[in-house]
Amino acid sequence: MGENIIRRTITRLMVPFIQLFALYVIVHGDSGPGGGFQGGVILGASFILYAIVFGSEAGRRRVPAPVTDVLSSVGVLIYAGIGLLCLLLGSAFLDYRALPFKDPHLAGHYGIFGIEIGVGLTVAAVMVTIFFETAHRGEGGETRDG
């Protein structure tokens, strides 16, 4: 515990800022470098950092398997859902000008914002899932099919 305390304290301090930076990168994708993918990867990396320092059991308790599974699908659904919404409102698939905002530029902004959120969610959830499935030591060491 003695040598771990530095790592744990620093990680506890850093993880909220990393997540805040990740959200900043996702949301400001249209006015600077960044976007859904980069922010999603940074968000996933914050959970991976927590799991590396505190153990994968503790990390998996924070983001349990059902949560990451559902979130990775929800992101793709948001993306496709916005596209379908544009289709249902009378225009082409993923044509943001059909969205009900006054100004087509504003509609474009909101459409892109929604899409980036969806992409960020999926990427973060999938990165966390891949890490936990790859690094997880099986209890007892037996595999499923022997």
């Binding site: 994708g29 249209d30 006015s31 600077g32 470098p33 960044g34 976007g35 993918f37 980069q38 990867v41 940074i42 996933g44 990396a45 991976i48 590396i52 398997a65 599974d69 990775s72 699908s73 992101g75 793709v76 993306y79 496709a80 596209g83 698939f93 993923l94 943001y96 087509p104 530029h105 504003l106 474009g108 902004h109 459409g111 892109i112 899409i115 980036e116 969806g118 992409v119 999926t122 990427v123 959830a125 999938v126 990165m127 899932t129 891949i130 890490f131 499935e133 790859t134 690094a135 997880h136 030591r137 099986g138 595999t143 499923r144």
Partner: protein
């Protein structure tokens, strides 16, 4: 000058990562190679791509490699039954020669008259400020002009996550 230094370091890192027998060290050298690649891309003004490579290549790939190494062997075998160095060297020299012969026909580096800059690119560069209203042209192309491709890319990531779950997740033993 710094470009030549960066390119030389890139080649040295790639050689080191390929030749090292300790796979953990090779993975860390690969992480340094990814970071240097991100710096080279920043020098080429590809800021979005450098951001992605730094976070994905130097971050996620290294973590996945170390996690995979924790469940397989850390070192490469000393002696392998089939020695394939000489035929492989001949093959890569031939392929490299063919590729270099192909680059002789390409437009010069940084040539503004290259055909890559004349068909769709001016439309996207103009339209990103006027049609879409977004300052970052790469995001405008990714999310507006070529949004359908980005949906496919998100599906690819989702499929990778599902594949890893299917391959590696253990069902809880019952009884």
């Amino acid at each position: 000058m710094i470009d030549i230094l960066l390119l030389t370091l890139l080649v040295l890192c790639a050689l080191a990562a390929v030749e090292m027998r300790d796979l953990l060290s090779a993975g860390l050298v690969l992480s340094g190679y990814s970071l240097l690649m991100a710096v080279v891309w920043t020098r080429l003004n590809a800021v979005d791509v450098a951001f992605t490579e730094a976070s994905v290549g130097a971050g996620i790939t290294t973590v996945l490699l170390i996690a995979a190494l924790s469940r397989t062997d850390r070192g490469e075998a000393l002696v392998s039954r089939t020695r394939r160095e000489i035929p492989s060297l001949i093959l890569i020299l031939l392929t490299g020669a063919v590729l270099v012969y192909g680059t002789l026909d390409m437009p010069d580096f940084r040539d503004p008259g290259a055909p890559a800059h004349h068909h769709v690119a001016p439309r996207y560069i103009e339209g990103s400020a006027h049609e879409v209203g977004v300052v970052n042209m790469v995001t405008a192309i990714l999310a507006a002009y070529r949004g359908y491709d980005t949906l496919g890319e998100t599906t690819v990531i989702f499929t990778a996550g599902m594949s890893v779950i299917l391959l590696l997740r253990r069902r809880k033993q019952r009884g």
